[in-house]
Symmetry: C4
């Protein structure tokens, strides 16, 4: 494809041994404006920075006397057992970085027995993705009204997805200066494959003194009544993604959501948000010990995942590394990224004295007093 | 004009999508010593730095369940309704960066329905500026005595300004090493158009052991009695600019000022001052919930404005970006800067769950405990 | 040897006056992949960085009225008197950087009257090292089972070592990306001289879904029962190395260990651990005033040693500087490093008002209130 | 002189408007090893860095309503009135950077009516310096015993100095790696002019296992009895320099010292000491409101002096800037440095609302709550 700068390598290139190696290398494979779109955060990228460096506030003890005779990395989630607590976050438009797009990602997810959350904005139709064996979830963007949203939901349900995730934190796009400066555009060859048969949105005309954000996009977001309605449209586990305030988490729990994904959208929406990792503990405190919390934003190391789990997450989602792995080496690259996360988490568990995921608690953190 | 390094562009240059783009680009249009004058802060520029980075101490939640059916960015100020809470701060000598100077800025202010505070030190006479339709305020520098000050005030009143702002924090110029090193000088072509017909100041002779700052400039500043006198010279709203200490704010309120502008003069006076943004909350606490507070110094993003409003400001003033916009693209550049601020604020309100300006309170800030 | 990039200098090169000079210079003498192995920490090297900069959190008063008529740098450790509180930490594979390897290090240790902890993974056999006069300790890695471990221990005891140190924090190797990227390999010429006659380890086969870390390496670590057994195999002082959690320290004390070495393995195991220096005080508090604590990780200055002693260590161990000294100037380089540490500690004691090691307490630290 | 790299300029070079300009420029005039000696701090220069950046922890309000009808920068010290609270700190070997050395500095001090503390280690004899009109103090280094010390003291007294300052914090030289690496040596042409006629020190032989610092230099420092004796040798004001611990300050006050100079020797002795500015307040608290405290280390701006005075210092001493001014422009350079300090302090007083030195209290500091 003409929008691919350099075709993905046929095998993992020499010297790629960590997610940061993928991050550094993947730029070489992407058209400049697409790279800016993939890598950037909003505004001055304060939140993008905090997401990554916020983990450093959590320092971890090594332990030397734990009993590892029974070791296990599996977690229970929504009635299923996952071998590792990693999930592929929904990432839109994977065709931007690889001709096989989500098809390749699904192959990797399947090979690594990792759930994949298919984006509403995938370039490959949801049915074509789920045609491969695997554990697929579906990420739903509200389509401005209930009719169109239900149509999209039903298509995903018919494709056989097992969990529904509605993203709530991107009603308005953040201030995305880096792709703006680079003149980012979606190549014509890529379509939003799941949205093509939806009824066209009702035309909305703004007065000259009205705000595109406030009087435009924000009028197309779901209200509480819409979410109560959505809850009734499926018996599948229903999650809300993009939650950072404890009060929002509690309201969503009360609306009937089966879990939430703590996330700041990888630093791509409101610049100025805290590090995503700092948002887990207050939410865990607010929703109680049993309510499922997933975490997303900035995980690049096994120790990052260990930290998120210790703060109260039940599993973690991996976003941008999918795009980096895909660009560098296609399905093999994504699979390698997942493998790196798994092995690094195993090493982190071994050294921090946690033989199983349930042993990973806030006791692992160093405290001076 | 010979002191303009490169004429302003006829349209907004490609890739200019944020205030920081204007900041970076505007240097190319300015003579070096003028750029040093415009961009620099005093001393070691600690305060200039703090002004900008102080905003990062205020982290903002995104919210996902707010009701935006009624959205509005307007504020009430001194009996008028502003469509957005932005005001053009008084900036002296705008002819330094564009031949049309304040005339072009006024055109942009008018187009964007934004109040403009005309500087005592404008290069275009106040009457010529106010001849254009618009909402004009006047910034008054004390002219050493009541006679000259009153003469200047009357000229502004006759020109039709609607609010008077006296600047109190620049009695003595700060230590301005960068323009000193660059050999900054005001081009002969530029005059202080509003001061030209004032009586010449009384000659003051210093003894060899007397200080130009303490025994010279500081003797020409208004005392409390002078401010009480000034209060009686006009019925227009009267504001004091350059206040950072709560006790000063309370005294000014008691003298009869209608509001204050919290500002550290963009880091151009006393180096060592705190970030201006840190000064709002203590002053709001001291003067009560109803007293008008404007804020000035370091606003470069919509989220900065959101932060200032949440801490207690009723509106925010924009300073240096006027000069950058003017240098790069004249009136269109200034208007574009205002538009960027407006749109970024709207996006920030949408993502932080604030459908109106009064919804922007300290509840938006993240707190870990 | 072909894996040495540049032979060690015949004398201390001009301008080498501190450990940081050795650090900077030694790279020139090492093959790239070996340098990456020696210098690197695990993961993103957060802990490597913290180890070094953590000392800056402890600020030291100078004192001007202390009585130095009786000055002394000696310490009592395990029934012996050391002239200075420095010990050479166990460092594996010293043949990587100098053809004489541990033989040269022992020569330096002997010349400087400094105890040397011989690594299980030395390239020179323990007997050959101890053939030189000196104060030798032996670092024991658990060999997967009691038979092999006992065989190695007995060999060390027969060689005449005086203290046994078992390393507990490296059951699993950390994530070592820098040597991985550099393609680090152990030159064929180097053997693990102390392990060559041990029975080969029992073969362990992992299922495809089992973790090399958790189901492989961690199964070969000693449990509490093994440590109780080990305690009975020798009457020599027995220390545990790699302890950072107070609870682990107390358990090891109760098992019968004669002391512990607080260490995070020089930042080479679990990245995310706190600065090693921050771990001393909580452990000292937990084990009481009398229990021997040694410290290791990041000591590069006499003031670092002063800080560790003030926080509760009885002596400090020096790791990487051995390799740097060895690479640059062989035995003379190592001896010079030890001399630098001794002299810098003496100067630090003089200026901080501590005429003897027991005078070095937390009273030396500055506190603002 | 051959050890001067470039002769001092005949006038202040263009663009030199701050002390930092002198700092940057002076290197060009100095032989490399001499520059390293002048500019460097001890160890890793943590304390040198802290000295400079420690001021940033003290943020200063501007004030806009203070009454400046009575403005004054003078201070009373030891029965004399100084026009400004600046004093030239003792700086050894000024001949290193200018052929006229201390003679030129004295000329500048005299021109600016600033006291000069003559170093024991001046290259120009004390009598030759005091032959110029001025306010001279003498810095005394203990000469190993009372006889030699008294001889040096008497010489200074006979030369007409007005205050005696004994330096207590440099019994042992700090770890000075930068001059060591640069091969710093004192040019033969320079003599320690005040020490040349003293009896040679008694020979001291160290055993091989004795420490040059602890058993050598520290044995030549004055004990408490020596200081009591010294106190009786003169009726002049007697100050102790190099004090940072409150307990030392109290003991020196009780011994009969008339004041202390809080200083960490410009970061040249014990690296790891706190920022000197942080040491004033605890000492002021310990010695009470009336006891004279001078401050030295890191003052480079008028606002730095303002900060030190606000924390409790009665006056501040200027060290390295003397050497920079001297190197760049001889006596005129030193005078210019003093003038910059005076004018910047005046501006800082004007903007912070302090019409006199006694108005400079901790009330000037910003506090958020």
């Amino acid at each position: 494809m003409t929008h691919i700068k350099k075709p993905a390598s046929a095998s993992i290139p020499h010297g790629i041994v960590s997610i940061s190696d993928y991050e550094k290398s993947a730029r070489d494979y992407m058209r400049h404006d697409i790279a800016e779109y993939v890598y950037s955060g909003s505004g001055d990228e304060q939140t993008l920075y905090r997401n990554r460096y916020g983990f450093q506030n959590y320092q971890i003890y090594n332990r030397v006397l734990a009993d590892f005779s029974e070791s296990n990395t599996s977690v229970q989630l929504f009635g299923k057992t996952l071998a590792h607590p990693f999930i592929l976050a929904p990432v839109a438009h994977q065709g931007l970085v690889h001709p096989d797009g989500e098809r390749a990602t699904a192959m990797a997810a399947n090979a690594m027995q990792t759930p994949m959350i298919i984006s509403s904005l995938s370039n490959i139709p949801v049915e074509e993705i789920t045609a491969q064996k695997g554990n697929y979830w579906f990420q739903l963007y509200w389509q401005g009204n209930r009719v169109a949203t239900l149509s999209l939901l039903k298509r995903a349900l018919e494709a056989g997805v097992e969990v529904i995730v509605i993203t709530l934190d991107a009603a308005v796009s953040g201030v995305r200066n880096r792709p703006q400066r680079a003149g980012f555009f979606l190549p014509e060859a890529l379509c939003e494959a799941n949205l093509s048969d939806l009824p066209p949105p009702a035309p909305r005309t703004l007065e000259p003194d009205q705000s595109p954000a406030l009087h435009g996009f924000m009028q197309d977001t779901p209200g509480v009544e819409d979410l109560l309605w959505l809850r009734e449209q499926t018996n599948l586990p229903l999650l809300a993604k993009g939650v950072t305030h404890p009060a929002d988490a509690v309201r969503l729990m009360n609306i009937g959501f089966d879990g939430i994904i703590v996330s700041n959208h990888g630093g791509r929406t409101l610049d100025g948000m805290p590090a995503a990792i700092d948002c887990i503990a207050p939410i865990r405190k607010a929703v109680g010990a049993e309510y499922p919390i997933l975490f997303d934003s900035g995980i690049r190391r096994g120790t990052d995942a260990l930290t998120a789990l210790a703060l109260g997450a039940n599993a973690v989602c991996i976003g941008r590394p999918q795009m980096w792995g895909l660009a560098v080496a296609g399905a093999a690259g994504v699979a390698h990224c997942i493998r790196i996360f798994q092995e690094e988490l195993e090493i982190a568990m071994a050294l921090s004295g946690c033989p199983s995921i349930t042993d990973i608690t806030s006791e692992i953190f160093w405290a001076s007093n």
